[in-house]
């Protein structure tokens, strides 16, 4: 199907886009990648009166490090993140998640910032950005503000973005210690949403954990940050008895629903299993994980 009629605006400057947003307020939806919005519009689950296409806006496709942060412009596609040297060198969790989102065709258009703004409970980037303590930069005619991702993702498809605001950038802190990161995702088939997704981010110094971040998707009304599990990891370090505690705390942090992808109990079990695997890998052991092995063999450019 195709959507009902809408007004289509394609501003050519950010100022123009912000003006349009302040005029249209809640009537307009921003279109960037469109890989979540357009499918919803085709099925008529969403019928915005106006679309503000931001794909022509200059200056939003930057991906660079500055002042101790990685800065990801709103128009940086997942494909760009996969190909980025700086991400591959210093942001292992982002390198791990990017190729696991949807499929190569969708990754060519979809964006990190768009994923956060769409705020699907099964969104992969939300889990990752929670683990990495990221933030979103939002602009409006009134000015600019920075919002911690933990304060940005409120509920299913609900963010704290105001109707007149445009998310222009996402930022994560640059690693100071020795970074480790892995994203484990179970999907029923390629391109499916996650049954469960687990993002683990660590800054290590030997066995001791200076910083830990654990984010989940598919286990609640929005992405979940496992604060207690993170604290246990920092307190205890990478030891076997700590791993079990951390996995249990993370599994308890989510509130999964039973649905076509599995029972709540199965999803909690998945969180536990993925946490154990991630931490075993961090400890230098290589547990058998067919999916992770595949990523090692593929020269994934898409």
């Amino acid at each position: 199907m195709y959507p009902p009629r809408f007004h289509y605006e394609a501003p050519s400057s950010i100022e123009e886009a912000l003006q349009l947003l302040s005029v249209y307020q809640g009537e307009a939806k921003v279109l960037s990648g469109g890989m979540s919005l357009i499918p919803l519009m085709k099925l008529r689950f969403a019928s915005p009166g106006a679309i503000i296409d931001v794909n022509n806006l200059p200056g939003l496709d930057g991906l660079w490090e500055e002042s101790g942060q990685l800065r990801v412009g709103a128009l940086v596609r997942n494909r760009d993140i996969i190909r980025s040297e700086v991400v591959r060198a210093r942001y292992p969790l982002m390198t791990s998640v990017a190729p696991q989102i949807a499929d190569p065709l969708v990754r060519g258009r979809s964006t990190l910032v768009g994923s956060l703004c769409h705020c699907d409970p099964q969104g992969d980037w939300g889990a990752v950005m929670l683990a990495m303590n990221g933030e979103v930069v939002a602009r409006s005619v009134a000015g600019e503000r920075r919002i911690r991702v933990a304060d940005f993702l409120l509920g299913p498809f609900q963010t704290s973005l105001r109707p007149d605001e445009l998310a222009v950038e996402a930022r994560v802190p640059a690693p100071t210690g020795q970074p480790f990161g892995v994203y484990h995702k179970l999907e029923r088939k390629v391109g499916d949403f996650a049954t469960v997704g687990v993002a683990v981010f660590l800054e290590l110094s030997g066995r001791s954990v200076a910083r830990a971040g654990i984010g989940l998707c598919g286990v609640g009304p929005t992405n979940v940050k496992c604060v207690e599990a993170e604290q246990a990891l920092v307190a205890g370090g990478l030891e076997d008895r700590v791993v079990e505690d951390v996995a249990r705390l993370a599994a308890e942090a989510g509130k999964p629903q039973t649905d076509q992808r599995g029972s709540a109990e199965y999803k909690r079990h998945l969180v536990h299993t993925f946490l154990v695997r991630a931490l075993q890998t961090a400890m230098g052991r290589e547990p058998i994980d067919i999916r992770q092995r595949r990523f090692e063999r593929v020269n994934a450019l898409v």
Binding site: M1, Y2, P3, P4, R5, F6, H7, Y8, A10, L31, G34, M35, I38, P39, K42, L43, I51, D53, N55, N56, R79, A102, D103, P104, L105, V106, G108, R109, V190, G191, R294, R297, V298, N299, A300, L301, V302
Partner: protein, 164 residues
Amino acid sequence: MEVKQITVTVNGEPRIVEVEPRILCVHMIREILGLTGTHLGCDTTSCGACTVLLDGVPVKSCTLFGVQTDGHELTTVEGLGWPSELHPVQEGFKEEHGLQCGFCTPGMMLTSAALLEDNPDPSEEDIRWAISGNLCRCTGYQNIIKSVQWAAKKMAAERTAATA
């Protein structure tokens, strides 16, 4: 009815198109431009039968509005090659029996052509990965892989001949 006028380069030729914003790129390609090699397979952005190249990058044209192509380059299967001058990927699909019903084939070939631009010597794993957004119900993918490998070899040979 709000109609936009856009200019899009289709298979190398600039075209001026008048289209309602809500019209999907795949419908613009098939019904306004008359290029029916691009197919509609699923309605859920799942199958990749609608794959075209937007500025050389494979995208699902069912999940793009036609108006978004304004100022851009679109390549459909009709732009890949013709019976008189087949693209190596098309030749490969012919030589290695890479299709049965042919419904997924235009999308498969465009994705494969883009892969070979990027990665002229892909492993089998690389090929399987690159086409993982294009579903085929007939072949089990075996001969599709072989077709792409055939094309890679042909293109490498052509490059060697050109520099000799």
